[in-house]
């Protein structure tokens, strides 16, 4: 069994890992940048080591330095969390060479699945459905026509070096193909200096559904069901839930088996997530494997009753899975909302600053994963997530109800947050019915939000009006000299009385 784990990460996920390790009687080692010197997770760990400056490239991405700390502190395992070094095959390899257990898949599996083309070929070989398309880059229009015809329109043209939507074009019919191909190639050339493109079947407004898997080092694999992650904005997940409203037993079994198959074929071990696109007719297509613990893993924990970090540690220690697929039980429904420091009214601009005050009451059925305390700062160096709120209930309605209540009673002072945005999403009819896909937020929800008129009921209007006056007055009390000299005695004595009332 592993005795001491170094967590090569920060924030809420470091806290998450440390708590489970402690429960298992395992010692923990934190590493920190200048910025994180006294962050919550560093205080929670048994030991903490400084590894560099605040930018991740000068601290959390320094593989050598982190391995050095592991050796110095006598840690026999490293948990990479998510982001940073978690999906770098190189890092897993370095751990292996130093005889430190990497709590994650072997570097060979990370490399096999890291390249999208390699992963796709592996999927095809093991009869996992993929979006049909070219396997080689295309430059010639005649060839493109032939391929598009065989796949059937609409098709998508994608720059092979692409990313972030650049060099991507949806083509609805053959008539548009030639000009679209030319434009996509131009974009690809100017953005990436490489004009080779792929053609594949275009799946319109798909859902993003992913499967959690666990694979031990003895060839046993289970899936822990799906997570519906279609509520996205600019490819960033906003709300995740399980189960997905479109899921039925047959589809879950089929997709789960595919997820296990591709993992085993790639030599995968430990916890992982297999992502799929699902179209309107419940056809599913393999997208990619995330070779790490996901941000949204808690909803799976709520619905299966398992501790995924504990499972990861046990697998890394060489233990066999304690369960078979038949033992995995799903119960209830769970939702996760990511509370972020950003301003929904201002194009979701990240909002930096000090969290002067936090007020929240979790209550029954709610869980919060966070690495932040009152008084902490949200910096530009790392992501803008303040907290993950996770609700659990016997069914979806209950989980939604609990989440809405908790969000309404969550106050953060000092930075702007997306809490009101999350609430309006949860109250939206499409979400309530579960009728949404990856395009929903940007294409339908956000445009509608701008047109929404402010409607206040009478009581709220009175409360908000009175509140604005009281805040205004309290602000001016500090600088009241100038106000009271400009005003007659009336205001002055009113202020005095008001102050006296709170002695």
């Amino acid at each position: 069994m592993i005795k001491k784990i170094l967590i090569a990460n920060r924030g809420e996920i470091a806290v998450r890992i440390i708590t489970t390790a402690k429960e298992m009687g395992i010692k923990t080692v934190a590493v920190y940048s200048d910025f994180d010197r006294y962050s919550l997770y560093t205080k929670l760990a048994d030991e903490a080591y400084h590894i560099g400056e605040s930018p991740a490239s000068k601290s959390y991405l320094l593989a050598d330095k982190i391995i050095g700390v592991a050796k110095k502190s006598g840690a026999d395992a490293i948990h990479p969390g998510y982001g940073f070094l978690s999906e770098r095959g190189m890092f897993a390899k370095m751990c292996l060479d130093e005889n430190i257990k990497f709590i994650g898949p072997p570097h060979t599996a990370i490399e096999n699945l890291g390249s999208k083309t390699k992963a796709k070929q592996l999927a095809i070989k093991h009869k996992v459905p993929v979006v049909s398309g070219t396997e080689k880059a295309v430059t010639d229009i005649e060839e493109a026509k032939k391929i598009a015809d065989s796949i059937g329109f609409p098709v998508m043209i994608k720059a092979s070096a692409g990313g972030g939507g650049k060099g991507m074009r949806v083509v609805k019919s053959e008539a548009e193909l030639e000009s679209s191909l030319r434009m996509a190639q131009n974009e690809a050339r100017s953005s990436f200096g490489d004009d080779s493109v792929f053609i594949e079947k275009y799946v319109d407004s798909p859902r993003h559904i992913e499967f959690q898997i666990l694979v031990d080092e003895h060839g046993n694999a289970v899936h822990l069901g799906e997570r519906e992650c279609s509520m996205q904005r600019r490819h960033q997940k906003i709300i995740e839930e399980t189960p997905s409203v479109i899921m039925d037993e047959t589809l879950r079994h089929e997709m789960g088996e595919c997820a296990k198959r591709i993992a085993l074929a790639s030599g995968y071990t430990n916890a992982g997530t297999v992502e799929f696109m699902v179209d309107n007719n419940k056809n599913f297509y393999f997208l990619e494997v995330n070779t790490r613990l996901q941000v949204e893993h808690p909803i799976t924990e709520m619905r299966t009753g398992l501790d995924l970090v504990a499972e990861q540690i046990k697998i890394a220690s060489g233990e066999k899975l304690a369960m078979t697929q038949e033992d995995v039980r799903f119960k209830g429904a769970s939702i996760e909302c990511r509370i972020c420091a950003e301003d929904p009214d201002n194009n979701f601009l990240p909002s930096t600053g000090k969290l002067n005050y936090m007020f929240r009451v979790l209550g029954n059925g709610m869980r919060e994963d966070t690495g932040i305390e009152q008084g902490n700062e949200i910096s530009i160096y790392y992501d803008s997530m303040i907290s993950k709120l996770i609700s659990y209930g016997a069914n979806r309605e209950t989980a939604i109800r609990k989440m809405k209540r908790a969000l309404r009673d969550y106050k953060v002072v000092g930075v702007k947050t997306n809490i009101s945005f999350l609430l309006s999403l949860l109250e939206n009819e499409a979400f309530v019915k579960g009728n949404y896909n990856t395009q929903y937020v940007e294409r339908y929800f956000l445009p509608g939000l701008k047109e929404k008129k402010i409607q206040l009921d009478n009581d709220t209007e009175i409360a908000k009006s009175l509140a604005s006056i009281l805040f205004k007055e309290s602000k001016q009390e500090g600088t009241s000299a100038k106000v009271s000299s400009a005003k007659s005695g009336g205001a002055n004595s009113w202020l005095k009385r008001k102050t006296e009332a709170y002695r």
Binding site: Y382, A463, K464, L466, I469
Partner: protein, 178 residues
């Protein structure tokens, strides 16, 4: 007695409020009893006719709006309210008469980050909603857009350079075409 005029942003509504003393107020002629306590600078417990509200407020970040514009958050529903005292209204009239209307011409960085791309050049006419520049912070690219039609007078920002919060990026002349 103190009079206030409140306007929920984005509406034509004008709410009149009279604070009678530290426990009674008249809001649009509805008499209410209230008590309140600040639990931090920006959060208070407010009881109106024994009904509980936990209220959060954020000031407007702009200097000249600081004392009149508040974002009021009750149950995580945020409304921007313009709250003016009698004095504010008087001062406003006074400065309007002098033709002293201030127009925002300095575009400053809303947060520390790095300039990814500058889309405008000096002397260029820019329409409302057009993107001035792209600022990267916290792993996200953010677009800074024109709030109204304008002309770029001077550009201080440079591509690939990092900027501090509040650092001036662009100077505008308000568009004559308005």
């Amino acid at each position: 007695m103190k009079n206030f005029f409140i306007n929920p942003d984005g509406t034509e509504k004008q709410i009149e409020a009279v604070i009678k003393d530290n426990k009674t107020a008249l809001i649009n002629d509805t008499k209410v009893e209230y008590e309140h306590k600040f639990i931090s600078d920006n959060v208070m417990i407010l009881r109106i006719n024994n009904k509980n509200y936990i209220v959060k407020a954020e000031n407007d970040s702009e200097e000249e709006m600081k004392d009149t514009s508040f974002e009021i958050d009750i149950k995580s529903e945020v409304t921007r309210l313009l709250c003016k005292s009698e004095l504010d209204v008087l001062m406003e009239k006074f400065s309007k008469n002098r033709g002293d209307v201030k127009i925002k011409t300095d575009i400053v960085s809303p947060m520390p980050g790095a300039i990814v791309k500058i889309n405008v050049t000096e002397g260029q006419k820019v329409k409302k909603g057009e993107v001035f520049l792209v600022l990267e912070a916290m792993k996200m690219e953010n677009e800074l857009k024109a709030a109204s039609d304008c002309v770029i007078q001077k550009i201080f920002a440079e591509e690939k350079k990092s900027v501090e919060k509040g650092q001036i990026l662009l100077k505008l002349e308000p568009s004559a075409a308005e």
